[in-house]
Amino acid sequence: MQEKLLEIRDISKYYPGVTALKGVSFDIRRGSVHCIVGENGAGKSTLIKILTGAERRSEGTIRFNGREFNPHGTRDAMRSGMSVLFQELNVVNQLTVQDNLSLGKEKRKLGFFKRDPELIGNIYEVLRSLDPSISLTQMVEDLSVAQKQVIEIAKAIASDSNVIIMDEPTAAISDEEVNRLFQIIRKLKTRDVTVVYISHRLSEIFEIGDYVTVLRDGRMIDTKAIADFAGYCKDDAPSASSSMDAACDELIRMMLGKVVAERYIPSDVDRGAKVLELRSVSNGKLKDVSFALYKGEILGFYGLVGSGKTEIAKAIYGIDGREGEVLVGGKLAAIANPADAIGEGIAMVPEERRSEGLFTNLTIRENIPMMNLRTISKNGVFSRKRERLLARRYIEKVRIVARDEDQRVSELSGGNQQKVVLSKCLNAESDIILMDEPTRGIDVGAKEEIHNLIRELAKNGKSVIVFTSELPEVLNLCDRIILLYDGKIMRTLENGRNIDHGSVMRVVTGAGV
């Protein structure tokens, strides 16, 4: 067994009125990939913040390399060899790869910055060994998210980091890139670098992890070697036909304290009522997109990053320009901006919840009515009481976990933030709801809740379009599935029959039909 690199003992963290972590203890071994899983709000983020010095712990001790570890801020933690790969990457898009690598590594001489040739040479070498396809003179904005991650990893290794914490590194990258990242993680292990890996995708944990620590409600439930699980967990597989594997069940049960087995339930679709129709819609990213949406239907768009999913949502919602016709309820609709779209009875849950969906420094109460202020006002004058009641109703209905309706949205966990976005959208009282990646970065439990909510919407006669890059999501949820590749509709599938995953993957990767 490898030696202990990090010994975490009885860590607790109290915020005013909230216990984020309570008595968490476990060890992380040198050169291992140690996964941390848990629902949103289980305490993962808080734990990372404590490890990286962004927050002080309230109680407990951490030993790092055998020494007491009390970082004063993130820079201090980094100097001790603890690096983080955040979801929001710390690269400068307007600089070249080379300039990015040397950023912050300059030596200061007579008040001028001077490059440290040795250190920079070292970083280049690391980068080449990790991913030879990245050229030093490329602009960073031309790189993919995964390649940007590689740059950050290279910087971390070159500055002698022993530990790299990866927070949801695969949330925004394609399957192919995930594989490349995993190769890199394996290379890191051979360099004796320890990786702390946080992800909602359980299959990844079984693929790359050595150990897994499960957190629930701020407590450590268990820390286990992956090898000790009976079997294997694959969450990108199947829907109705096959059930999930024993290992997966076990892990989910540890996370949630219950088992989730989701499967496709056909909606009651009224094929006689076309609520929305696109006819030959094209723009820079879309090519001749035509389809119809029926009353009570959940329609899914599936494709890889860049296939045009988001672009279809944006074209319907009036964010991007387009040619071609959009018909709402059989009538030609002139939608030039989101306000027009809402006027036509179309609401959207945007892809990026923080930058597009939420007013993070406002409270839950203030966020929820924003798409439809008429629900709390009369003649432009709103009622605080109605606003409060409305918020309470949604908190209960959508099961938002919060102190109360006056809590700021920025203080909520990702899943609960997403539920606020959903509430805001539901309150628009639209008949057509577009949902762009409605469950991205959200744990299994909250995901199922959101899926059930979508099913309920369809049951009540609303029509929903889900745009997603997760195959299980379309397979579990949608009545029809439209496959996209390069801005074109490649194929439309009826769900509920046997769908061959291999052929779906071939279609969406453009490898033929």
């Binding site: 809402i342 007013f359 409270t363 924003m370």
Partner: protein
């Protein structure tokens, strides 16, 4: 104390409450110091003098707070105030009935507001630059009009009723225009705390993209807010001219900063999305009384400007420090 009760639940109200409380403390210290240094501070005449200045700041700040909440600035209010005052004097002098002239002057202010708003939303000019441009334009026009009139200020030949608006007293003690201002400020407070216009302003300032995607008419809202601010700056200009009995192109110099400082002291974020109306009022009182204290001490005007700057920076730093301590972070 009140802070204890304020620890309650909502971090935001808590923060704003604490800040206002601190500001009231600072205000009391200033007032007590002034009284000790110069007992004349407490006289009716002195108070009326300060309140005049403060009422202008609060009036324009009443609309300005919502504009700043939306993440936009109006640097032109000082010079619009000068211009409308000069225009009011000029028009009254040249045969326009005083009442009509008041209305026209306010409309001039509104026009500048509209112009600022359209530059920001249609031409996509950053609000600081757009309003800085109109500040110069207003200032230039104010001087031109005074020059056409034949002097530095428009003073002579004004009709008898020109000063009525600024000097009429109600009950022998309270100026009429201050009562009118208070009424307007109350309306503004209602708009700030109870209307969808305010909700939209907060939404835009908090996250403009999310506001657009939520179907909020962002451009319309911003133009309306600028219009609102410009009109009130126009009204303030009329009041100043009428009270002083002349239209002076220099009278509004630095006024825009007094308004901004009052808002910032009061807890309105310059990045938008956060504001306190009551804080703005207390902030205006501080701005006014600091100036008055220095005046009474016969500090030379140029030094006053320096000291005012220093005190205001210190006040902002001080409130932030205390706030951090109160909130434990």
């Amino acid at each position: 104390m009140h802070t204890e009760a304020g620890v309650v639940r909502e971090a935001k109200t808590h923060k704003v409450n604490a800040q206002i409380l601190i500001l009231v403390g600072v205000l009391l210290v200033i007032m007590i110091t002034s009284t000790i240094l110069k007992p004349r501070f407490l006289s009716y005449t002195n108070f009326m003098n300060v309140l005049t200045q403060i009422s202008m700041i609060v009036l324009v700040g009443s609309a300005g707070t919502l504009l700043m909440v939306s993440g936009n600035f109006d640097l032109s209010v000082g010079m619009v105030l000068s211009l409308t005052g000069v225009m009011h004097a000029f028009m009254s002098k040249n045969g326009v009935p005083t009442n009509a002239s008041i209305v026209l002057a306010v409309l001039i202010g509104a026009t500048f507001g509209l112009m600022n708003g359209l530059m920001v939303v249609k031409l996509k000019i950053p609000s600081v630059i757009a309003s800085l441009g109109s500040m110069y334009i207003a200032r230039g026009f104010a001087f031109i009009v005074a020059w056409v009139d034949g002097g530095a200020n428009v003073v002579t030949g004004l009709p008898l009723n020109f000063e009525f608006f600024g000097r009429a007293m109600v009950g022998g003690a309270v100026p009429l225009y201050i009562l009118i201002f208070i009424a307007i400020i109350l309306v503004c407070y209602f708009v700030f705390s109870q209307t969808n216009l305010s909700k939209c302003a907060f939404a835009i300032g908090s996250n403009r993209r999310a506001a657009v995607l939520s179907g909020i008419r962002v451009e319309k809202t911003i133009v309306m807010l600028y219009l609102f601010v410009g009109s009130l700056a126009g009204l303030a200009g009329v009041a100043v001219a009428s009270r002083v009995g002349s239209g002076a192109p220099n009278v509004g110099t630095g006024f825009e900063f007094d308004v901004i400082v009052a808002m910032v002291l009061g807890g309105t974020s310059i990045y938008g999305g956060e504001a306190s109306f009551l804080g703005m009022i207390v902030g205006a009182l501080i701005v006014g009384f600091v100036g008055n204290m220095l005046n009474l001490q016969d500090v030379q005007f140029f030094y006053q400007i320096v000291v005012k700057g220093l005190i205001l920076i210190a006040a902002v730093l001080f409130t932030r420090k205390i706030q951090e301590r109160l909130l434990g972070r």
